[in-house]
């Protein structure tokens, strides 16, 4: 009995005093989006103990924050529209002028962005596109159409994976129908709902974190996916091809934001400065295979990545569309369509 008390006491000591580093940094990040080496480098450089939890969609990040995780994390990496929503919800802290010494490294076109004018809460992380990837062994026809997901050829039925991501699925479906986002026209919304309801029987799964794995392993022949993740999938299974559909595809930019009530605010700012250094931004890009928003990174990239087909849309591809932020009444209609799809 005495022994077990001693063991417990030792455990408690270990838990409470386990951290040897001077400071801490708590990151809430997308899965598989930053190399461990880079986190280790930051930890060594600033003598900080870095912990990271992961999420798999912008909406999951929002749900966690609204569900009581405020004050637990220092930084997160929401996509463009989610930065705007989180700022409106009061979940983001403001970065004062001069707090980031590398702010000047942000590429000029990404400084004054609509979702965070003047970059008050965020810095660019990576940007890329969302569309889908097809296993060419399973289908050899034309893949540059969103019909591959929403009105698939018979031989692909039941072999399709869709991202578990409300914003991206509904926006891509709107592109397929050619309707604008954030419409409150009920006929158009019903058409959108019908499209998804009719497509659902053809879908095998709603998986985001395993989006690469289901394609590589052959579990899915078509899978909605992000361009860089698809490039990683192709390196494991050469018959995978990313599509830039003629109807359009989604563009996005993920951003490192300073969260409200960050327990280690100073370290969070150090981390943001760290990620704005071209060398480190390039390390993320090499790992995740998207595109950085920091000047001076492109020169540091490998030739293979620069030429990757996922990063270089064909000349006739339309420009990517960003997910729009709707007002509450409209968003509730879209939420109803998504709930109806998932149930």
């Amino acid at each position: 009995m005495k022994k077990s008390v001693a063991v417990i006491a030792a455990c408690l000591l270990f838990v409470s005093g386990g951290a040897l580093a001077a400071g801490k940094l708590s990151i809430y990040h997308w899965f598989e989006y930053i190399p461990q080496e880079l986190l280790d480098k930051f930890a060594a450089q600033h003598d900080v103990e870095v912990t990271m939890d992961t999420y798999d969609s912008n909406e999951a990040l929002l749900a966690a924050m609204k569900g009581g995780k405020v004050g637990q994390y220092d930084v997160a990496v929401p996509g463009d529209y989610m930065v705007e929503i989180m700022a409106a919800e009061g979940l983001l802290d403001t970065i004062a002028d001069g707090e980031l010494k590398n702010k000047g490294n942000i590429q000029p076109e990404w400084v004054d962005v609509s979702f965070d004018p003047g970059r008050m809460h965020s810095i660019p992380y990576q940007w890329g596109s969302t569309s889908f990837t097809v296993n060419r062994d399973a289908y050899s026809g034309d893949i540059r159409t969103t019909a591959m997901i929403f009105d698939p050829p018979a031989e692909l039925s039941g072999k399709i994976n869709v991202l578990d991501s409300q914003g991206e699925v509904l926006a891509l479906a709107s592109l397929h129908l050619g309707i604008e986002q954030c419409t409150s026209d009920k006929d158009k919304l019903r058409a959108l709902n019908d499209l998804l309801q009719n497509a659902k029987p053809h879908w095998a799964s709603f998986i985001s974190d395993g989006a690469k794995d289901v394609l590589v392993s052959g579990e899915a022949a078509v899978g909605m996916i992000w361009n860089g993740f698809s490039a990683k999938a192709r390196s494991e299974n050469a018959s995978l091809e990313y599509s830039y559909p003629k109807e359009g595809y989604l563009a996005w930019m993920d951003n490192v934001v300073l969260l409200m009530d960050a327990p280690n605010r100073a370290n969070a700012l150090l981390f943001m400065d760290f990620l704005l250094e071209p060398e480190n931004a390039a390390a993320v890009t090499e790992f995740a295979q998207y595109t950085a928003g920091v000047t001076g990174t492109y020169e540091l990239l490998s030739e293979g990545l620069k030429a990757s087909p996922e990063l270089n849309p064909p000349a006739d591809a339309p420009p990517g569309t960003f997910v729009a932020v709707c007002d509450q009444a409209t968003q509730e209609l879209y939420d109803a369509i998504w709930t109806n799809l998932k149930k």
């Binding site: 838990v15 939890d53 798999d56 995780k69």
Partner: protein
């Protein structure tokens, strides 16, 4: 006579079903074990025998993450099982030695409530509870939740053991002027020990095993082995996960063997 007795007991087809049952139980585990020694980046193509994935588990890039998760898992399981076993031992003495009393049935139901409520419901209720009272999710929330649902698992073997111990032991001790504390620690507890150890081991394994409640109540940066493994598996089954699985499989075998030996020595007494 002996042969006919055997014939009466014997049912045709039961042996094949038993073998089928064991094959079903062990097949997947053994295959994962075999593939954990696979010297190939791809998980399905056999590339020769190697221990590289075990090396990866202990020294690879993800090693710190899994080590931390393992530390959390084992320290939580140790503390939760110790607390639950202590609480359950007290409860077992009261229930088995306390005579008939009003509310005995309700108390029994209460102690066993965590077994009867589906885990997902306990998980949701605990999450809402901590969020309502404003308790910050983290290591402590996992520990508290684990203590609560480990109590019945510790209670059942302990009370079963106590029911088999005659009351005259502690009565004799008290008659010989032992205090109740002495009667417990020097007489009853040694007799109950096999039950207490079984209860502790069961609670320990149940805590180590838990995924769904932990997943709901864990806070920033706190992972246990199951949540860490689940997170990794969602992105695809990798060979290092198979190596971790095999290690945990061996740990289970060690624990079962240990608990068997304890029970055997208990029977002899």
């Amino acid at each position: 006579m002996n042969k006919s007795l055997k014939d009466i007991r014997h049912y045709f087809g039961f042996l094949p079903i038993t073998i089928l049952c064991l094959t079903l139980l062990y097949g997947p585990l053994i295959i994962v074990m075999i593939y954990s020694f696979n010297d190939s980046q791809s998980i399905t193509i056999w590339g020769g025998f190697s221990l590289r994935w075990y090396e990866d588990v202990f020294f690879g890039l993800e090693a710190p993450k899994f080590k931390k998760a393992a530390f959390n898992s084992f320290s939580i399981a140790l503390m939760a099982a110790t607390t639950a076993t202590t609480v359950a031992t007290c409860a077992a003495i009261a229930m088995v030695r306390g005579g008939q009393f009003r509310g005995k049935g309700i108390t029994f139901g209460l102690i066993n409530l965590p077994i009867m409520v589906p885990e997902i419901v306990t998980a949701v209720a605990t999450l809402i509870f901590f969020s309502t009272i404003g308790f910050k999710a983290g290591y402590a929330t996992i520990l508290v939740a684990h203590i609560a649902f480990c109590i019945p698992f510790a209670y059942l073997p302990i009370s079963a053991r106590l029911q088999g111990i005659d009351e005259s032991y502690e009565e004799a001790a008290v008659d010989l002027y032992a205090t109740r504390l002495q009667a417990f620690f020097q007489v009853l507890m040694p007799l109950m020990l096999p039950g207490i150890i079984s209860g502790f081991l069961l609670a320990f394994v149940i805590s180590l095993d838990d995924f769904i409640i932990t997943n709901f109540v864990k806070g920033a940066g706190v992972e246990t082995l199951p949540t860490a493994i689940f997170g990794a598996v969602k992105q695809g089954i990798k060979p290092n996960i198979m190596a971790i699985s095999t290690l945990l499989l061996f740990l289970s075998i060690v624990i079962v063997t240990f608990s068997y030996l304890i029970n055997k020595s208990g029977e002899k007494q």
